[in-house]
Symmetry: C2
Subunit: 314 residues, 2 copies
């Protein structure tokens, strides 16, 4: 396979961590319901491809997200291997399920805006932190690691542009509760490269270093990789991505969604930045999953390489 | 319409020039044959949308590129307005047609690699410059401006990675012949952000400043805008783009082609970089053209905004 030429650029990290969200954030936003055995194989393939963190599913109420209603069954299928995989937990009831399974990592999902807190969490901006407090406290007491997603960090479909100070306020309050890492989400894909640097700088001024920040870009307006390059220059070393570009935001105006893991890996390979992921294996996995979903992957790299790599899937 | 928040980044130019290649490079690589009156309206709409340079067509032999076999008819249709639009001219026969029409700008199409020179020009790498010499000399004598495309500047499907020294050699020889600007083409889309900076730096070491360089990125692997951001940091201020992302390279492995004008404009708007283009008008034009081509635009911005802007087309 033809990889890009490795030409390092100035001011880049030597290594980044790719946080794979395809099985949770990706499948959650696909219209198709994928059988649980296919999901389990999807997760196993992604782990086998070298992805260091694979968020497996969400313990959200099945009525809210029918795509992930089989979360308990999936985690049972994954067994011991599943214990180290993060699972999204919306509330204490979800935490109870994570504790019963002996999981080591959970993620919570907060909002940087009042309107999204209201629409998605049924809380005010301030009330969400009170809601998360016992969940995070109990998880930390049990020795769990807690990641906090912050949604709508750049723009909000109802409120427009989101001030960086407001995102920093939400983020620091989630860290103060006990979260170890923030995933700053461009939920509707309106971030551009200068805005990314401004947000990272604002967190820095508030004492939150890049070691506690991850970026979660959506490609709605084609900006995800330009924003990633800008974030790399700002010192970010953890990036969320979704195998094959699965998923999207139901509130966004188009079907384009998460940054594709393959497109991110291709860029990192070109920059000579280590990541530990086998590109051919991920492309093969996404090509296989596209068959189950009955539509081509939106990832440019999967489309460009898919045919030639399909046979090399694990 | 919701534009991205304007947040400037360090080291960016205040203004860039978008060189629109949709009517030539875009339609040349589409399988559909577009009627000449639709092409003329396409060009007029793009000019009306504020695009400062719109390459109209190519005087290549109709047997080679049937999509552009109506070049003479198109230029006649465009009339006086067409004289200031660049037209691709492959050889002296094409130049004769440009001279007859009183055109002010032509473009020639060279290769950075031996194999593409052989396959596309039927010349060796060295012979291509002898072939271009009389064309450029006569055009300059007639007071025409000559742009030189350099294809395969990053990778070549037969030769793999292309050394920057080889690209600089091809580029400087074309400038020495009398070209005023080089358009450095990532014909198969394999450039990544560090490679872009290395190529611009190599030209700088050879005495060719960024004022004589344009970048022509393809989005085959999703890298076009990340590469654009990197090129902006390197001082490049002219970017080729294709309305709606029309076209592609027939030698590339997938259907993804030129950087979409709309996606570029969106990024520039986010960075607060002036360009003079009316985004809504270009989106409306691409949505209209997608109807003629019978398929959706590959541009992320067109897909995200197309529905809401279709009624605002000129």
């Amino acid at each position: 396979m033809s990889l890009p030429m490795q030409v390092p650029a100035e001011g880049m990290p030597e290594r980044v961590t790719i946080y794979e969200v395809g099985p949770r954030d990706g499948l959650q936003n696909e219209s198709a319901i994928v059988p649980v055995d296919v999901k389990a194989e999807f997760v196993r393939r992604l782990v086998a491809a070298g992805l260091p963190i694979v968020e497996a599913t969400s313990f959200v109420h099945p009525g809210w997200v029918p795509q992930l209603a089989d979360a308990a069954e999936l985690m049972a299928d994954l067994g011991e291997e599943g214990r180290r995989l993060p699972v999204l937990v919306p509330n204490e009831r979800g935490l109870d399920r994570a504790l019963e399974l002996g999981l080591e990592h959970i993620a919570i999902f907060g909002s940087a805006t009042e309107t999204f807190a209201s629409n998605n969490l049924n809380r005010t901006f301030d009330e969400q932190f009170a809601m998360f407090e016992p969940t995070v406290a109990r998880a930390r007491e049990a020795g769990m690691d807690v990641r906090a997603y912050v949604s709508m960090c750049f723009g909000d479909p109802w409120e427009g542009t989101v001030p960086v100070e407001q995102v920093v306020s939400a983020g620091t309050r989630l860290l103060d509760l006990g979260a170890s890492q923030l995933s700053l989400g461009d939920t509707i894909g309106v971030a551009t490269a200068g805005h990314v640097k401004a947000l990272v700088a604002a967190f820095g001024e508030a004492g939150v270093g890049t070691d506690r920040l991850a970026m979660h870009f959506h490609d709605t307006y084609g900006q995800a990789l330009a924003n990633t390059f800008s974030a790399l220059q700002a010192g970010i070393t953890t990036f969320d991505a979704s195998a094959g570009g699965l998923g999207g935001c139901p509130y966004a105006k188009s079907a384009t969604g998460n940054l594709a893991t393959e497109d991110l890996v291709w860029m990192l390979d070109g920059l000579g930045i280590a990541h530990g992921v086998d590109l051919a294996a991920v492309v093969g996995t996404s090509t296989w999953m596209a068959g189950h979903l009955g539509r081509p992957s939106p990832s440019a790299v999967v489309r460009a390489l898919g045919g030639s790599l399909a046979q090399s899937a694990p």
